[in-house]
Symmetry: C2
Subunit: 211 residues, 2 copies
Amino acid sequence: MKVHGAVFTTASRKVFACLYEKELDFELVPVDMRAGHHKKEPFISLNPFGQVPAFEDGDMTLFESRAINLYIAHAYEDKGTQLIYHGKKMAILSMWMQVEANQFDPVASKLVWELVIKLIFGMTTDTAVVEVQEAKLGQVLDIYEVRLGQSKYLGGDDFTLVDLHHLPNIQYLMGTQVKKLFDSRPHVNAWCADILARPAWLKVLAMQHNN
Amino acid sequence: MKVHGAVFTTASRKVFACLYEKELDFELVPVDMRAGHHKKEPFISLNPFGQVPAFEDGDMTLFESRAINLYIAHAYEDKGTQLIYHGKKMAILSMWMQVEANQFDPVASKLVWELVIKLIFGMTTDTAVVEVQEAKLGQVLDIYEVRLGQSKYLGGDDFTLVDLHHLPNIQYLMGTQVKKLFDSRPHVNAWCADILARPAWLKVLAMQHNN
């Protein structure tokens, strides 16, 4: 199994976290994004949209991190952590996967861009954007606070792909002023502490340090 | 089965199209969005994010249109059109569902907003936004053109949820200057003509006229 990606991107990290949870061996093929290699051959033969990561498992080639993780969770269901459900429980899980993708990620990604990535590239944070997105994130987390008062994890009583997909953005935001939005909501705070401490996630962070 | 929605919204129309393809009876519970009823009780008990549609099937309550449709396609697999696959074919389908959600929809939705919805509300189209988004849509459709030269539909050889999820935005854009971007690509053009003519989709358009 191969992941063509870059260890600092949130989308690549979603897939690494999933593979570590499933206790699967994989080879990282680094894509030099600073040199624009994700927009050129041979990478765009793997993903014509020119975005990391791309994934290979035998004759299967996939891109889009959430689809890659759904494939891994189904194809290797008997390995490592059970990250999905079946039937009606899976329908609820799918709904919360959509919530992560459509409600949480657009807001969190903008904040990560403004407060983390821009600084790495020597650009200036737009504080007006941060203010707007912080207010939106607060509204999303208010709904998460209610949900996490009803079930231990967002998708149900177990850690699943839903929680996993939140990890990369939350990890980055915990190093910023946005941390207060997570800390001030008790159920959200406990959930963050729980999922950020998962051994599989710590392995992803160790990759970061080694590359 | 009940759909709480508004017949003009693209998200509600995704679910109606799915229910008609599956030949399932449902009750439409109209949500008066102009009066802001999607942001108030009782609707926000169905979807705390305050967005249509919400869906009820017995004791199941779901929101997020793509998750609703995945539930319907799995729970009623033996009814009407087979909208999903299994195994590796489903992994490919899931990837293209993500493409619709992450590559096509953000661009198409902005164009629908500028060129259709704003006019309905007496607002003015921002031509600079249209120009940028048209260029982006062209890039997405270039990739679709290659894909549709390899398989009849985006998710594989059959009409699936992937194609269905494109219908509401494409329907709106076909009434605008953006139509040329679809017409000028032969495989995309043939695909649009095919999916827009599906009887289930024509039933959704008939709802529009009656409400």
